[in-house]
Symmetry: C2
Subunit: 374 residues, 2 copies
């Protein structure tokens, strides 16, 4: 495991050295979450991380005790040492790493403009960078192609997800799941029992009166689930930090013609898009294909076709029509494929699975499906 | 309810008019959450909201169907209309509101620097503001003093929380809660059954081997709960958007002298701080008092003493030593009081309740306590 984090930091440092960046700052805090801290150090909670272009790194965690247990890094200095003030801590970390004056120091590209101004004022000795297409972007691209360890975590997350899907189908057919809450709590319980850190996002369970919402609100209630019509269950688990993300649709009782047509359209879109999740194919290609299929039926999908997942539930690559045409699928990417259609009168239908791009083509890791309930 | 949202927008618009701001943009999206959208419109999900200084407002929601059901606002335009591109949508909303050229238009103060540059480039006809102490700051200050409706929601959240605390104590004493997961799922289930939107954050349940973490990781597991020593349970519920936040400590079996001393210190700090949650008293005063008590015992608390709560689980006011001395408690504020001490060898102890500031003094809304289990 040590080598894993060192390699990631070394790859980053090499890019920095080649682009004349002497140090980069990562920050994982409330309101400005970043998976980079965990990616480069294994520390799973709030912290500031500074890495220089020799791959030396210092971690400044909010909780020193947790960091001592989890972080794979030589130097840890507690945030309390700097009055729990981010800029003060960053200044101290840069000093610890002996970053020379006049260096180019890059702060997160999501740094708010007023905070950026404070950095510039606080560090006249450095050239403070805050750019979208630079080191932080490299870090995002680094994470979008998973290494072997990450793929093993994703496979484990998928395996647990698939077991939960089967359990839910069985329990529903036995009449043991009666409400949206029953379904959500079963997922919560099963994933923890299987050794997960938790669900990868707040489970969405929506009976027919609420399934028209892309993300129903509230995320689950004590309403009957599934009831006659179209119900949606969107959930995922987090295994060692890595997310799965699936959506099942339950079709219960006799459906209207329009409901049947909606299901057929979603399945058609799914099938047409799947074989386009292929190394070298532009990321936007399956999204354009699905848009076309829906447009022919005079329907429109109100969200993207898919997204990468990993330490974040939504991360690069982005499978949508507006993605730049030169961005393509690469071996080692993991992305959702999730066509969906929604209508307050008909209800919603979404089918979502997680696809690993391999040299041999798309590998569907999860087993979501549209489940018919008599 | 209509008047409520109109009044909030009118108060905001009055401030804007007085400070020469013609329009303000709020954005509630993944990675840049803002409770302002819900506060000013009741819409509970992703959206862009623009309000001008005549209190006219337009909402651009990700999910049009949810907005039609929930939002209290005259004009709703779906995000899909603008290719789901934020700057494009903002431009259209400003046009819809007929914001004149050369106006001062304020975007969120948390807008990343590179995005701020894109706004400036996209809207040469406007003076784009992105400032910390301006309209968005006014909005934060507006929300830190709760109106009657908000106080009624907070009371309801507290009442449900208190019932759950009692249930947990009873179930633990009956031996029905055996693991961290049992406690967390009970909370999840009970709060939904009581009509909550959910928990107000991910429940933290930590047995003695993990209670040293300010926020234990993972947030709960299948470990025994509570076990001999000090266990922590930190949770809250969300009622109509409004959060409660409490922490119980369970002291089980015979404790060491050091564990007893730690509990006594936390209780002493709590008692000393409570009567300082008083209209007109500087927000930092109770925090300084607690720091002093802990310092005398050669201990240090690694987090703030308290925080406001409402539509966000952590919001202004901030009860900590570094808060500016001129900021004081005001009637209608709701803030946590949560002294805590943590040590890997001893375990953690935190006592947290939610305090409403009234003209008659601090009103303790919740009933957390340190619970002894034989």
């Amino acid at each position: 495991m040590n080598t894993l984090f060192q390699k990631r930091r070394a790859d980053l440092a090499r890019w920095m050295a080649g682009n004349n960046v002497q140090a980069v700052v990562f920050e994982d805090t409330e309101g400005r979450r970043s998976p980079a801290v965990r990616y480069y150090t294994n520390h799973p909670e709030d912290a500031i991380l500074v890495i220089n272009n020799k791959a030396e790194a210092v971690l400044c965690p909010w909780d020193e005790n947790i960091a001592k247990q989890k972080a794979v890094i030589e130097t840890i200095v507690p945030y309390t040492k700097y009055d729990r003030t981010a800029i003060k801590a960053v200044g101290a970390l840069l000093k610890l790493l002996k970053v020379p004056e006049k260096s180019r120091v890059e702060i997160p590209s999501i740094t708010p403009y007023p905070v950026f101004l404070r950095y510039v004022e606080a560090f006249p000795q450095y050239d403070i960078l805050c750019k979208e297409e630079y080191t932080h972007h490299f870090a995002v691209e680094q994470r979008q192609v998973k290494d072997e360890y990450e793929i093993s975590c994703a496979r484990k997350a998928a395996e647990i997800t698939n077991r939960i899907i089967d359990t839910i189908e069985t329990q529903i057919k036995k009449g043991k799941i009666k409400t949206e809450t029953d379904a959500a709590l079963l997922i919560e319980k099963e994933c923890r029992a299987a050794g997960c850190e938790g669900t990868s996002f707040a489970t969405l369970a929506a009976g027919p009166s609420r399934s028209f919402g892309i993300h129903c609100f509230p995320n689950y209630t004590d309403a009957q689930f599934p009831a006659d019509g179209l119900s949606i269950l969107d959930f995922g688990v987090n295994y060692s930090g890595y997310a799965s993300d699936v959506t099942l649709t339950f079709a219960k009782g006799e459906l209207t013609e329009e409901q049947e047509k909606q299901i057929q359209l979603v399945e058609k879109a799914y099938d047409a898009a799947l074989h386009l999740y292929e190394k070298g194919v532009p990321l936007r290609t399956p999204a354009l294909k699905v848009d076309e299929i829906f447009a022919k039926a005079k329907r429109k999908m109100p969200h993207s076709l898919g997204h990468g997942m990993g330490l974040e539930i939504h991360e690069a690559p982005w499978i949508r029509a507006k993605t730049e045409p030169e961005k393509t699928f690469q071996t080692g990417m993991i992305a959702s494929l999730e066509p969906g259609l929604y209508d307050p009168a008909i209800g919603g239908c979404r089918l979502e699975n997680d696809i690993l791009i391999t040299d041999q083509g798309p590998e569907v890791l999860t087993r979501s499906r549209i489940i018919r309930i008599p």
